[in-house]
């Protein structure tokens, strides 16, 4: 399969997965309407991967989950700090802007639900079990969070990133769902969905 076809396939997966994830997010936030930017899938050289989602020094909240089962991989949900605090306010009613225990807990749960919804969608499509681990949450420089995710995923040269941006009417909320499937398992998904050998 050509690189182009591979990317198209990734985008399709992203479409389906993030559709479910944003529905989940919308429900959590009382039915607020979310606009999805067309999913973007990239195969990036290692050194460019971190810059891809935004400035390396930007403060972000990152929720990180390891995926296991029939298909394995790693997933992360990265939210710029300001957006994270808007979400915290919407979820907990706390508008102090302080990243306290409850705020972190709310973000962790949000990330958990977003990522798991994404996995549920993929699982339904492929009949593969894709079980999420207990999530980890960190609030730090984007570069540091990102490279910790990549090191955990033991990425080699190329990073396959499925990115999605979403915006809510009236509030500026951005986030990126990063999906790093294990190479072999990615091929499994493609095969099951009739996309032939890659």
């Amino acid at each position: 399969m050509s690189s182009e076809a591979k990317l198209d396939f990734l985008k399709e997966l992203a479409n389906i997965g993030t559709g479910h994830a944003t529905t989940a997010l919308s429900q959590m936030l009382g039915g607020r309407l979310f606009q999805l930017v067309v999913p973007d899938a990239q195969m990036l050289p290692f050194s460019e991967a971190a810059e891809y989602i935004g400035g390396l020094e930007q403060l972000v909240a990152g929720i990180f989950i390891v995926v296991s089962g029939d298909v394995g991989g790693h997933m992360a949900f990265l939210i710029p700090f300001d957006s994270a605090m808007v979400l915290v306010k919407l979820l907990t009613g706390d508008d102090s802007g302080e990243m306290n225990e409850l705020a972190l807990s709310a973000l962790q749960e949000l990330g958990n639900i977003m990522i798991t919804s994404y996995l549920n969608a993929l699982s339904k499509m492929t009949d593969f079990l894709m079980a999420p681990s207990v999530p980890g949450v960190a609030v730090d420089m984007a570069g540091a969070v990102w490279e910790s995710v990549l090191a955990g995923a033991e990425v080699t040269n190329e990073v396959t990133v499925i990115r999605t941006e979403f915006f809510a009417d009236g509030e500026s909320i951005e986030g990126n769902i990063i999906f790093l499937p294990d190479d072999d398992d990615f091929k499994k998904i493609a095969r099951v969905l009739g996309l032939g050998e890659m």
Binding site: A24, Q27, T92, N112, T116, L119, S123, K124, L129, A131
Partner: protein
Amino acid sequence: MAKTVMITDDTAFMRMTLKNVIEKNGYTVVAEAADGEEAVALYKEFKPDMVTMDITMPKMDGITAIKEIMKFDPTAKIIVCSAMGQKPMVIEALSAGAKDFLVKPFDAERVVESLRKISS
């Protein structure tokens, strides 16, 4: 008679949210567990009428906790509340003895509806 409930979830935020919903609807939350191990211990101590159980948790996952609780009390009434809604997981939970499976995020009404259904 108000029924007693134990809430199990590894996220403080979720426990707080569920507690609010449950108590607002006339039930009493007698215990909160942050992992499966704690859930089993607290169940034995408080013997709640009903339990909400998360699946993905540290130390002991929800499925194992359900099995342990059912061993101790075959009449235990457990509702699963988890983001993990994939078919094999739902089947496993129900086979282990859970009475219902709610996929997060869910409306408050859904939880209450489920509690009402299993408490009768």
